[in-house]
Amino acid sequence: MSRAEIVDSADAAVAGIEDGSTVLVGGFGLAGMPFDLIDALIRQGAKDLTIVSNNAGNGDVGLAALLAAGRVRKVLCSFPRQADSWVFDDLYRAGKIELEVVPQGNLAERMRAAGAGIGAFYCPTAVGTPLAEGKEVREIDGRTYLLEYPIKGDYALIAAHAADTLGNLVYRKTARNFGPVMATAATTTIVQVDKVVEPGTLDPEAVVTPSIYVDRVVQVTARQYTVQGAR
């Protein structure tokens, strides 16, 4: 279906996510983390998931809770190790989860490429480092680049501030982070918002994610988790 669907519950929003799916999960630490969608995904039960997210969980909530529930086979992220990433750390050290570390900008740009129909791109990040291993190298105008492939999701779970009933999204402050890019890069994009408004309410000039990228929207009660990943 091309038009976004406004659903009544987070459980309805995540219905049908299959075992083995690649799920893009928004948020930078806890800012922009789609807590309600993740909790619903835990109840829904999909397993063997590959999660693409900046971090690998903070504290015991959100992504950390999904990891603790044993549903995740592999994590692609830029920064797993933090002061409060004990859930991931224990799983990783026990060999129970696979990790692919991706530089933060490459993580974003590889998803952008997936959403924009780019087959691959040459990027200067990580040249000469261990993360360049196995990547095609090319010199262009005297600078060295690595070939990077898109990261496409079966699903994206993101949080935005508000949606209209068509699915246009606006975000709030740095909670925007990966949301707009992930929304473009998944087959099915599922969004939790603090409020759903009528079309014409959002300033069209201020819409960040146009409705064409959005499939399901659910309104949730805002949770004000205190940031705790500081290091």
Binding site: F28, G29, L30, A31, G32, N54, N58, S78, F79, P80, R81, Q82, F88, D89, Y92, R93, L99, V101, V102, P103, Q104, G105, N106, L107, A108, E109, M111, R112, C123, P124, T125, A126, V127, G128, T129, P130, L131, Y171, R172, K173, T174, A175, R176, N177, F178, G179, P180, V181, V208, Q224, Y225, T226, V227, Q228, G229, A230, R231
Partner: protein, 220 residues
Amino acid sequence: MTTYAGVPTGADHRLSMDELAAVIARDIPAGSFVNLGIGQPTKIADHLPADSGVVLHTENGMLNMGPKAEGDAIDPDLTNAGKVPVTELPGAAYFHHADSFAMMRGGHLDVCVLGAYQVAFNGDLANWHTGRPDDIPAVGGAMDLAIGAKDVYVMMTLFTRTGEPKLVPRCAYPLTGLGCVSRVYTDHAVFDVGPGGVRIRETYGVGARELTERLGLTPS
């Protein structure tokens, strides 16, 4: 090539990290777009003069980031790259991650300041992974910043707790970027590094000749 004749002595004692942050703030050109990474370099913001016109970039998606938020000003939707709650200054702008990193990679960011495990004389940087088998690697935006900002400064102690130099002929730790660092700010001295080798710019409570010997630099 190393030069130390006439190196100015900036202080008669080894600098604290706060004093070092003030030295770096002094050297950041007015009006620059600057990224201060996470951890120690974020202290530099406290020493920028109010009229510096420096605009702080935080890679999680903001320009003109303000100081750390306290009390009622804490907003879970507004943090810096270290996930510390911060504030916004007039003229702030928010953007998504792909745009934020395009700002670095595209050469729009003037200066970034990073911590480091080691920096090589030629400007190679190692700051993301110790390489120990039990260590969980975490790169964040370090590799993107290292190749992106026009000038990459490092802020670190010059020696490890056991007295080993961290400014080295060749990095032993896994690299973050090749030849990307232009200047190294340490508690004992400030150095220019790069293809031309190391040049001591300023020392704090130690002679340039002694430093040259301890680091194994080639006297000019």
